[in-house]
């Protein structure tokens, strides 16, 4: 017993200060990418060709980057002859609409909160049922981590629950394989309305590396309506937490909200 207490003291207090303080991320962390369009040589398509998921396209205004498809790899950075693409440390990536994840010269729009009525219902207590539908256990692992003492999801009133019947919504990972489509649909139907759906990771948003494989459905919103998209491969736990808190209206501009 005394030994347990001594070890408990040795292990220390480990819960991060976020959202009150800003977290420190490793210097090589790949957050929101920025493109210096002025540097793009005329007619250059090197990054477009290099991107494994065709997340980069070129339109009249220049490069267009779809964060819903982005694997946050270094293929485009390495391919660019002018070093025009770089990643920033900004971990805030979540968006409410699929179109909000598209970077085309303007800064990324932060996810808006749910409407007032939904916030009254879920704002201080949100129970989520997680469904992995073809996820590689990367997103699943970093969702799981939110329940450890480091992120302590419980302090925000958010909890992962064992049954869809107890849930206010689903948190979906994976591209939605054909073999999980029916199970996902049934789980969605089993959750009582009103309910929200959160798609976590490139797979759940667009199919990720498996995009256009006939064995999957290019993401959750082809099967159920989605209220929040959280990009990444996998998204950092802070990215997921930031998205959840913004959805509940508990974060504004990186600072804790009302």
């Amino acid at each position: 017993m005394f030994r347990n207490v001594a070890i408990r003291l040795q292990q220390g207090h480990r819960t991060i200060g976020f959202p009150k303080g800003q977290p420190t991320l490793p210097d090589r962390f790949r957050g929101v990418p920025v493109v210096d369009r002025a540097k793009c040589p005329v007619g250059c398509r090197d990054c477009v060709e290099a991107c494994p998921t065709d997340a980069i396209t070129i339109d009249r205004k220049g490069l267009r980057l779809d964060l819903g498809r982005c694997l946050f790899c270094t293929d485009c950075v390495e391919a660019c002859p002018e070093r025009a693409i770089r990643y920033t440390q900004d971990f805030r990536l979540a968006g409410r609409r699929r179109d909000d994840l598209i970077l085309n010269g303007e800064s990324l729009k932060q996810a808006e909160a749910l409407d007032k009525k939904a916030r009254r219902l879920f704002g201080r207590s949100l129970k989520l049922r997680q469904v992995s539908a073809g996820g590689c256990n990367g997103c699943e692992a970093d969702v799981n981590v939110l329940s450890t003492v480091v992120f302590d999801l419980g302090r925000f009133g958010i909890q992962m629950v064992a049954s869809p019947r107890h849930a206010d919504g689903l948190l979906i990972t994976g591209p939605v394989t054909e073999n999980m489509r029916l199970a996902l649909k049934k789980t969605y139907d089993a959750a009582p309305a009103p309910k929200i759906v959160i798609a976590v990771g490139a797979c759940a948003i667009s199919g990720g590396p498996y995009i256009n494989h006939p064995e999957q459905h290019n993401g959750a919103d082809n099967v159920v309506p989605v209220d929040l998209y959280i990009p990444g491969c996998p998204p950092h736990p802070l990215t997921i937490l930031d998205g959840l808190l913004r959805l509940l209206g508990r974060l504004e501009d990186g600072r804790p909200g009302a």
């Binding site: 070890i7 292990q11 490793p26 494994p52 073809g134």
Partner: protein
């Protein structure tokens, strides 16, 4: 006649001896009797008859062998003689539509369409989508016998799978595990590669084993292209592979503590797992090692300052993991729950071809880092950690032994990192060539086998995740256990669903 080869050695495909089915069966049976295991057995789906290849791995002699045959329609199944190939033969039947006659358990593995249209083992039409989980499950009949079905959607944040228990009261007479829910069509998509997506498939085959699978793939590419990655890259790959092991083993010990209701170690290890992941992120920006390992070497180098930081964090993490894990061994209620739960004998483990932590916990000295060393493991040896009791305790304890040895390895490597570049240029792949690579991932042996065509593209690429060998071990471990011990047994194996389903 077989073709001997080393881990990561490129050979001409024409050298693979093609035998008739009877000789092929004899070779496999003889080698397994001599102590080899079947690391892979697969067919190449095409239009005519199906070429079949076996990769035999003898850990004692450190020898890999390839043997081939061709099948049209059906052949006498190997499973009755070599039980460890039972799932490989089911996979072969599902993918290629050939029938291993006399297979005692011929059911779909992933519930997918045949890759040879017009050839379906279960006689389904080419446009018929197989229904996942719909099969003739084994049933025990009798008074008071009941069935419990769990999944695909489980209570935790975990991948999907279906488990069917045949119970008498609380006792499990039989467990059948039916997977396939995570099937994303990776092996099919790899054909004709490599292309710009290939490495990303490898990194997400089993997302918690990114470094393991990416290393096995890169070693295959390097062998096929005749490229030698620099020594510094080899060491950094080894460091990343051991960090992956450290993170997952630590997480597993925490989760096991949680499953027996011992919360201190659960919460300490939950945090410490993240500390190891963050060390990987310090090297490459990703907690899972995404973007680190690439053909020719690694993408990120580490300078002195970064090495210093890694060293410091490693020692801190070891100190905290040591105290957190020792609590488990010193708490009798924890030991009481782990000991004699989910026992597998050494004989069963050998017979069904278990690999990795699970095999070592049954006393089998199976570790690709020792048996078929590649990369840095050719020069630095990590002793194989085993325990003899085959129960959940052994599976936990082997993880703890490996944590200590991995830390020692990483410490040593960080102190003696060879100078030089971290990436070499990779040329085109050899035509009509073959290579087999083996990497000891944190769960166990990862085996990749690549065959190129006349233009140097993948004619076939076989991935065997350790989970493919080990799921049946979990089913057997549950026999005569209380059904309430399932979560504990499952966690003590902690197998990959997506690595199995591909």
């Amino acid at each position: 006649m077989t073709l001997p080869l080393h881990n990561g050695e490129q050979l001409n495909r024409a050298k693979i001896p093609q035998q008739n089915v009877a000789e092929f069966r004899q070779q496999v049976i003889a080698r397994v009797r001599e102590g080899a295991r079947v690391a892979a057995l697969f067919g190449l789906p095409g239009n005519g008859s199906v070429p079949m290849l076996a990769v035999l791995a003898n850990g004692v002699s450190g020898k890999l062998e390839l043997v081939g045959t061709e099948i049209s329609g059906e052949y006498p199944a190997l499973t009755p003689d070599v039980p460890q190939v039972h799932l490989f033969e089911r996979e072969l039947a599902e993918q290629c539509g050939v029938i291993p006659k006399g297979h005692p358990w011929l059911k779909p593995v992933r519930f997918v369409k045949s890759l040879r249209p017009g050839h379906d083992t279960w006689g389904r039409a080419a446009n018929e989508q197989p229904l996942v989980g719909v099969t003739n499950f084994y049933r025990v009949e009798g008074d008071e016998v009941h069935e419990v079905a769990v999944g695909p959607v489980h209570a935790g944040v975990i991948e999907p799978g279906h488990f069917r228990f045949q119970c008498h009261g609380e006792d499990v007479l039989h467990l059948e595990i039916s997977l396939g829910y995570q099937h994303r069509g990776v092996e099919r998509a790899l054909l004709g590669g490599p292309n710009k997506r290939t490495i990303h498939y490898m990194e997400t085959l089993a997302g918690d084993t990114t470094v393991g699978h990416a290393t096995a793939y890169c070693q295959a590419i390097e062998a096929l292209a005749g490229c030698k990655p620099p020594a510094r890259a080899q060491v950094l790959r080894g460091v990343a592979l051991e960090l992956e092991r450290l993170a997952n083993h630590t997480g597993d010990l925490g989760a096991l503590a949680g499953d027996v209701g011992y919360l201190p170690t659960q919460s300490f290890c939950g945090r410490l797992r993240g500390d190891f992941l963050n060390m990987t992120a310090l090297v490459c920006g990703s907690r899972f090692g995404r973007g680190l390992v690439r053909p020719g070497g690694v993408v990120f180098d580490v300078d002195e300052a970064r090495i210093g930081q890694l060293r410091e964090r490693l020692e801190q993490a070891l100190r905290d993991v040591t105290s957190a894990v020792n609590l488990l061994w010193n708490t009798s209620s924890v030991r009481g729950r782990l000991e004699r739960t989910g026992v597998l004998t050494t004989e069963t483990a050998r017979e069904i071809g278990l690999v990795g932590v699970v095999a070592r916990a049954c006393g089998l000295e199976r570790d690709a880092r020792q048996e078929f060393p590649s990369g840095i493991y050719q020069f630095v040896q990590i002793p194989v950690s085993t325990y003899h009791t085959g129960d959940a305790f052994a599976r936990a304890y082997v993880r703890w032994l490996e944590i200590q040895r991995s830390v020692a390895f990483v410490r040593e490597q960080l102190n003696a990192l060879p100078a030089g570049p971290v990436r070499a240029k990779v040329g085109p792949l050899a035509n009509n060539a073959t290579v087999v690579t083996m990497v000891e991932g944190w769960r166990g042996e990862i085996c990749h086998a690549a065959l190129t065509d006349a233009t140097g593209r993948f004619a076939h690429y076989k991935v065997v995740d350790p989970s493919f060998h080990n799921w049946f071990g979990l089913a057997l471990a549950l026999r005569n256990q209380q059904i309430s011990d399932f979560p504990l047994c499952n966690k003590s194996f902690n197998l990959s669903y997506c690595g199995h389903d591909l």
